[in-house]
C-alpha cells in the first residue's frame, strides 16, 4: 500500500528533505562547479560587493598574531634594506675592478691629475672624464684585491643575511597563515552548530559546503600568495627607488619610463584577458553540463539512438571551448614576455644612458651595474603587485561570502538558568502553538492537544500540511511564534536543547549515516552505550540479521554515503541508533519510498519494537499504523482539522474520512476483495494456512 509516494516525494521537497535524486543532482552540480574552479589560469570570478569593509575584516583575522606580524614586518624591512644595499655594494666591487684595470694602463708613480691631463692631451676626453670620476685611482697599481675581497665579503654577508631573513619571514608568515585558517575553519564549524535549522532550510546545502570549503581554500591561497608578498614587494619598490635616486636621478627617470608602459600593458591586455577568461568559464560550464548530461543519461542516449547526435553536439561545444581557451591562454601567457620586454627596454636604456654618463664622468661603471640589478629588482615586485590585484579581489569576494555566513543570525542560546528536566514518562502537551516559516504564510495556528505516556500519535494529511514541521517543533528544531509545548509538564522553550533531545529519539526519512563502522553508527545514539546494549538494539531492530552476512560484521566500514549497504539496511541502522538512545519520546517518519517491500516488512517490525512503551509521533503512511494509533491528528494547511481514533474519525465523515477514501480505501477494498476470494478458495480446499498468514478473514 505505498499509496502516496507522490505525496511523499513532493512532501520531501516542500520540507527540504532531499531525495536521493536531488542529492545526486546537487552532487553533480557541485562537481561541475569544482571542475570549473579547477580551470586555472584565470582567477575565480566574483567581485566583492563591499571590498574595503570585507578586506579590513579579513586583515582583522590576523589580529591575534599582531605582534608576530610586527616582528615579521621588521624582519621584512631589514631584509629588504639588505637586499637593496647589496647591488650598490657589489657595484663598488665593479668599480674597484674597473679602476684597477684602467690604472694598470697608466704609468706607475704618476698622479691621477697627471693621468687625466695626459688623456685630455691625447684627445681622449671621455676616458679622461671616466678617470676623473674614479675615487681610488692609483696609476699602475692594478686591481686592489684587498679592497675587493673586503667588499665581496661584505656582499656575501649581506646576501646570506637577506636570504636568512627572507626565509625567517616566510616561515613566520606561513605559521600565522595556517593558524588563522585553522581558526576561521573552527569559527565556521561552530557557526554550523549554532545556526537555526531555518537557515539550512533556506539555503542549498551544496552552497554552504562550497562556501566553507572552496572559499576558505581561496582565502588561504590569496593570503599566502599576496599578503606575504605584498609587504616585501612594496618595501622593495620603495627601497630600490631610494637607492636608484641616490645613485643617479637621471637613470632613475629612465627606469620610471617603464611605469606608464606597464600601465598601458595592463590596461590593454588585462581587460581583454579577463573578458576572454570569462568567456572560457562560460564555455567550460556549458561543456561540463553537456558531458554531465550525456554520461548521466548514458543508457538513454544509447537506446534512443542518439549517440551520434550527442557526439556531434559535444564536438561543436568542444570546438567553441577550444577557441575560447586558446584566446584566453594566449592573452594570459603573453603578459610575461611583455613584462620581459619592458624589462629589456629598461635594461637597454640603462646600458646606453649609463654608458653615456660614465663617459661623461658623471657616473662610475659599478653604479651602472648596480642600476641594472636594481631595475631587475624593481620590475619583478611591480609585476607581482599588478597580478595580486585580481587575486586579492577574488580572495576578498570569498572572504565576504564566508563572513556573510558567520554573520547569520544564530539560534537563541540556551538559558543559563534552565531548569533541570524532570523525570517523566513522556507526556507531551501542545498549548495554543503557532508557527510559521515566513510571516506571510502562517503554517500552524493555535494548535492544542495532549498525549499521554506510551501513546502512539499518527499524523496524517496531504503534502505540505505541516506534518514534519509539527514533529520538528517537539525537538525544538524551530522556535515557536506563540503558545508552548510541554514535555513532562515543562515548557521546552525553557529547557536546554540538549535536555529535550536527550529525551527524544528520531528516525528520519533520510537514513543519514556517517562514514565509520556500523557499530559506531549505532553508538551514535548514545555515546556511552556498551557493546551489549548495541547488540541488543541491533537484534531488536533486525540489524543483526544482515550484519552477520557482512564480512566484517559490526566493524564493516560504511563509506561516506553508506552506499555499500542497501537503503533498507541503512534505515534499519538508523532505527537501531534511535533504539540505543532509549528515548522516552519517539519521532518516526514512516516514509519508506526507496525501500523494497520485504525490507519494509522488517522495518515495520523494527519500528514497532522501537515504539513499544514509548510515546511516539509517527508521520504515518501505512494503514496499519494509523488504525492502531491511540490518536490520529489530521493536518491540513498547518492546522489540525481533526483528531480522534480511526473509528471515531470514520464515523464523523470529515476530513479524515475523505482522505481515507481517496488514498487508502480503493486499494484496500480492491485487495480485500481479492484476498477474500483467495481465502475462500483456500478455505474450501482446506488449506487455511495461506489465508491465515496473508489475510485473516474478517
Amino acid at each position: 500500500m505505498s499509496t502516496d509516494k507522490t505525496a511523499i516525494r513532493r512532501g520531501r521537497r516542500a520540507e527540504r528533505e532531499l531525495t536521493d535524486e536531488e542529492k545526486l543532482e546537487l552532487e553533480l552540480a557541485e562537481q561541475a562547479r569544482l571542475a570549473a574552479d579547477d580551470w586555472s589560469g584565470g582567477v575565480a570570478p566574483g567581485k566583492p560587493a563591499h571590498f574595503w569593509p570585507s578586506f579590513r575584516r579579513l586583515i582583522g583575522l590576523l589580529k591575534p598574531h599582531a605582534w608576530a606580524f610586527v616582528f615579521v614586518s621588521i624582519l621584512g624591512a631589514v631584509g629588504v634594506v639588505l637586499a637593496v644595499l647589496s647591488p650598490k655594494v657589489l657595484g663598488e666591487a665593479t668599480n674597484i675592478l674597473f679602476e684597477g684595470v684602467v690604472s694598470s694602463l697608466a704609468p706607475a708613480g704618476a698622479t691621477k691629475e697627471q693621468v687625466v691631463q695626459g688623456l685630455i692631451d691625447a684627445g681622449q676626453q671621455d676616458l679622461a672624464n671616466i678617470v676623473e670620476a674614479m675615487q681610488n685611482f692609483v696609476p699602475g697599481a692594478g686591481v686592489n684585491f684587498l679592497a675587493l675581497s673586503r667588499v665581496l665579503l661584505l656582499v656575501l654577508v649581506l646576501y646570506f643575511a637577506s636570504s636568512l631573513l627572507m626565509w625567517l619571514q616566510g616561515y613566520v608568515i606561513n605559521v600565522i597563515m595556517v593558524r588563522t585558517m585553522w581558526r576561521l575553519r573552527e569559527q565556521v564549524e561552530a557557526k554550523i552548530n549554532s545556526l537555526p535549522l531555518r537557515y539550512f532550510d533556506r539555503v542549498q546545502r551544496g552552497e554552504v559546503i562550497s562556501r566553507v570549503t572552496n572559499d576558505i581554500d581561496n582565502i588561504t591561497q590569496m593570503m599566502q600568495q599576496s599578503l606575504s608578498g605584498a609587504l616585501t614587494s612594496v618595501l622593495t619598490v620603495v627601497g630600490v627607488l631610494i637607492m636608484m635616486l641616490s645613485i643617479s636621478w637621471q637613470l632613475t627617470l629612465v627606469v620610471l619610463v617603464s611605469f606608464p608602459l606597464m600601465g598601458i600593458l595592463f590596461g590593454v591586455i588585462g581587460p581583454r584577458s579577463q573578458k576572454a577568461f570569462g568567456i572560457q568559464w562560460r564555455k567550460v560550464g556549458r561543456l561540463n553540463a553537456r558531458v554531465e548530461e550525456s554520461f548521466s543519461g548514458h543508457a538513454l542516449v544509447k537506446v534512443f539512438g542518439r549517440e551520434q547526435a550527442a557526439r556531434e553536439a559535444f564536438r561543436e561545444e568542444n570546438e567553441e571551448l577550444y577557441q575560447a581557451s586558446f584566446k584566453a591562454q594566449f592573452l594570459a601567457n603573453i603578459m610575461q614576455p611583455a613584462m620581459m620586454f619592458i624589462g629589456n627596454l629598461t635594461y637597454v636604456g640603462i646600458a646606453v644612458f649609463g654608458a653615456l654618463m660614465v663617459a661623461a664622468g658623471q657616473l662610475r661603471l659599478g653604479d651602472v651595474q648596480a642600476f641594472i640589478q636594481y631595475s631587475q629588482q624593481f620590475t619583478q615586485p611591480l609585476a607581482q603587485l599588478g597580478g595580486m590585484a585580481a587575486v586579492v579581489q577574488s580572495g576578498t569576494a570569498s572572504a565576504e561570502r564566508v563572513f556573510q555566513f558567520l554573520d547569520e543570525d544564530e539560534q537563541e542560546p540556551d538559558a543559563a538558568d534552565a531548569p533541570a528536566p524532570v523525570e517523566g514518562d513522556g507526556t507531551i502537551e501542545f498549548q495554543n502553538v503557532s508557527f510559521s516559516y515566513s510571516p506571510e504564510r502562517p503554517l500552524i495556528h493555535d494548535l492544542s492537544f495532549r498525549v499521554e505516556p506510551g501513546q502512539t500519535v499518527a499524523i496524517v494529511g496531504p503534502t505540505g500540511a505541516g506534518k514534519t514541521t509539527l514533529v520538528n517543533l517537539i525537538m525544538r528544531f524551530y522556535e515557536l511564534d506563540g503558545g508552548r509545548i510541554l514535555l513532562n509538564g515543562q515548557n521546552i522553550a525553557e529547557l536546554t536543547r540538549r535536555d529535550i533531545r536527550a529525551k527524544t529519539g528520531m528516525v528520519l526519512q533520510d537514513p543519514w549515516l556517517f562514514a565509520g563502522t556500523i557499530r559506531e553508527n549505532i553508538r551514535y545514539g548514545r555515546a556511552d552505550a556498551t557493546d551489549e546494549e548495541i547488540l541488543e538494539a541491533a537484534r531488536a531492530t533486525y540489524v543483526d540479521r544482515f550484519v552477520h552476512s557482512l564480512p566484517d560484521g559490526y566493524d564493516t566500514l560504511l563509506d561516506e554515503d553508506a552506499s555499500n549497504i542497501s537503503a533498507g539496511e541503512r534505515q534499519l541502522i538508523t532505527i537501531a541508533r534511535a533504539f540505543v538512545a532509549q528515548p522516552s519520546v519517539l519521532i518516526l517518519d514512516e516514509a519508506t519510498s526507496s525501500v523494497d517491500t520485504r525490507t519494509e516488512l522488517l522495518l515495520q517490525h523494527a519500528m514497532a519494537a522501537l515504539r513499544r512503551g514509548r510515546t511516539s509521533f509517527v508521520i504515518a503512511h501505512r494503514l496499519s499504523t494509523i488504525r492502531d494509533a491511540d490518536l490520529i491528528l489530521v493536518m491540513e494547511n498547518g492546522g489540525i482539522v481533526e483528531k480522534g481514533t480511526h473509528d471515531e474519525l470514520i464515523a464523523a465523515e470529515g476530513a479524515y474520512y475523505r482522505l481515507y477514501n481517496s488514498q487508502f480505501e480503493q486499494a484496500a477494498i480492491d485487495l480485500d476483495e481479492e484476498f477474500r476470494v483467495e481465502a475462500e478458495e483456500a478455505a474450501t480446499r482446506g488449506e487455511g494456512e495461506t489465508a491465515d498468514e496473508t489475510a485473516p478473514v474478517n
Binding site: 674597473f98 564549524e189 570549503t213 549517440e307 591562454q329 646600458a351 646606453v352 480485500d672
Partner: protein, 577 residues
Amino acid sequence: MLAKLLVRYLKPSVWLLLGVLLFQFASALAMLYLPSLNADIIDNGLSRGDTEYIWRTGVLMLTVSLGQIVASIIATYLAAKAAMRAGRDLRDDIFARVSGFSEREVTGFGAGSLITRNTNDVQQVQMLAMMSATFLVSAPLLAIGGIILAIEQSVSLSWIIAVAVPVLLVVAALIISRMVPLFRTYQQKLDAVNRVMREQLTGIRVIRAFVREPIEEERFREANTDIMVVGRKVGSLFVVLFPAIMLILNVTVVGVIWFGGIQVDAGEVQIGTLFAFMQYVMIILSGVMMASFMTLMIPRASVSAERIGEVLDSQSTLERPANGVVEQPEPGTVEFRDVTFTYPGAEHPILSDVSFRAEPGQTVAIVGSTGAGKTTLVSLIPRLFDVTGGAVLVGGVDVRQADLDALWSTIGLVPQRPFLFSGTVASNLRFGREEATDAELWHALEIAQASDFVSQMEGGLDARIAQGGTNVSGGQRQRLAIARAIVHNPRVLVFDDSFSALDLSTDARLRQALWRELPDVTKIVVAQRVSTITDADRIVVLDDGGVVGLGTHHELLETCRTYQEIVESQLGVEAAR
C-alpha cells in the same frame, strides 16, 4: 602515461611545435645577445670613450629587444594553439570512447568519475602541455644557450657555471622532492576536512536530534588540526626554496666577480666580458629555476593522465556484431533463456538461470526486493550489459547477434531515474524519433497522462526543461519519460519502476491508456507496487538472483511464499479485514 598522452596529442601539432621551437630559439638568442651587446658597449665604447658607438649599439639592442618580444609572442600564440588543440582532441576522444561504453564500463567507472576525467583531468594535462610548450622549451634553450655563450665569453670562468648549476639542481631537487609527497598529503587532509563538513551538513538534523554537536566539533577539530600541521610542513619547505635559490644565484655572482677580477687584472678577460658573463649566469640559473618549478606541476598532471589513460585504454565490452541481424523474425517477443549475469568483480551472479518469455502485446511484471536484480534484468533487454550465461532474445534474435541500432529502434526504455535532458518538452519527447509530429507528441502525452500539465506549462511543448529535468516534479518527470519512450514507437516497452512517483489513480489511468492504445506493444514492467501489476499476464518473482515464482497474481498468491510476503508487506496483514 603522461608522456604518452602528451606525445600522442601533441603529434598532430608537430609543425606548430616546430614553430614554437624556432621562435623560442630566436627569442632566446635575442635574450642572450643583449648582454654581449652590453659588454660591447663597455669594452668597445666606454673603455675607448666612443659615445657614438654606444648610441649605435643601443639602437641595435633596442631592435634586438623588439625582435625578442615579437618572436616570443608568436611562440606563445603557437604554443597556446598546440596545447589547447591537444586538450580539445583529448576531450573528444574520451567522450567518443565513453559514448561507446556499455553500461558495464559506465557503472564500473561511475558517471561522476567519468565526468571529472573528461573535464578536470584533461584540464590538468592541457595546462601541462601549455607550460611545456612555453617554459619547458624556453628554459633549456636559455640555459643551454647561456652556457654556450658564457663559455664563448670566457672559457676560464665557465667552471663557475659547472659548479653552480649542479648545486642549484641538487638543492631544488632536494626541496621539491620532499614537497611533492607533502602536497599530496595536504590534498588528502583537505578532502578529509571537506568530507567531515559535508557529512555534518547533510546529517545536521540527526546530529542535533542526538545532541552530538560536541563530538562532531571534536571530529572536525582533528581534521582541521591535521591540515594545519601538514600546511605548516609544506609551507616551511616552500619558504626555503626561494631564499636558497637566491643565495646560490648571488654567491655565484660574487664568485664571478672575484675570480673574474683576478683574470681581468691579469689581462686575460675584459671587464665588459665579466658583465656579460654575470648576465649569462643569471639567465642560466633562472632557466634552471623555471624548469624546477615546472616539475612541481608534473605529479598532479601525472595522476590525471593515469585516470585519462584508464578510460582510453578500456575496451567497450559492447562489441557490435559485424553483420548484425536487422530483420526480427518474431517482432515483439522477449525471451530470457537460462540467463545468468555476474557483475565484473562480484563473487556471486546477481541473476542466475532466469528464463521466461513474453509474447507480443503481453505484459510481464518483475517483482522482488532491492538488490534482487530487477534493474539488471531489464538492462539486458536493450543489451546495456552482455549476459554472462544463457541468452536474451528480442524479436527472436539473440541480442548479441542483432544490429544494435535496429535492436534499439524496437525498444522503448523508461529508466528508474527518469532522466530528462536540457532543452524543451518537445526536444525531450523527440529524443528517440526526431521526425515525430506535434500530433504524435500530444498523443503520447495523453497516454502518459501528461498532456494536462504540459498544456498548462508556459509554452506547452516548447516549455523549457532544465538539465536533469529539475524544474518539473518527480511524477511529471516520470510521465514525460514514459511519453518519450512511446514517441520512440517501439515494439517493446521497458518500464523500470516507472510508476513509483505517480499517485494511485494516475497510475491506474496511465496503465489503462497504455493497454488500450498500445495493445500490440509488449510491456516489461518492474514494479514495487502490487496494485500496478495485479493484471499482468505474467509476473516474474525474483529473490536472491533466481526466479522463485512465475505466474499470474492469483497463481502466485497461492504458490509463492515470497510473493505473499510482498503483498502482505504492502497491504498489511489487516488490509483484508
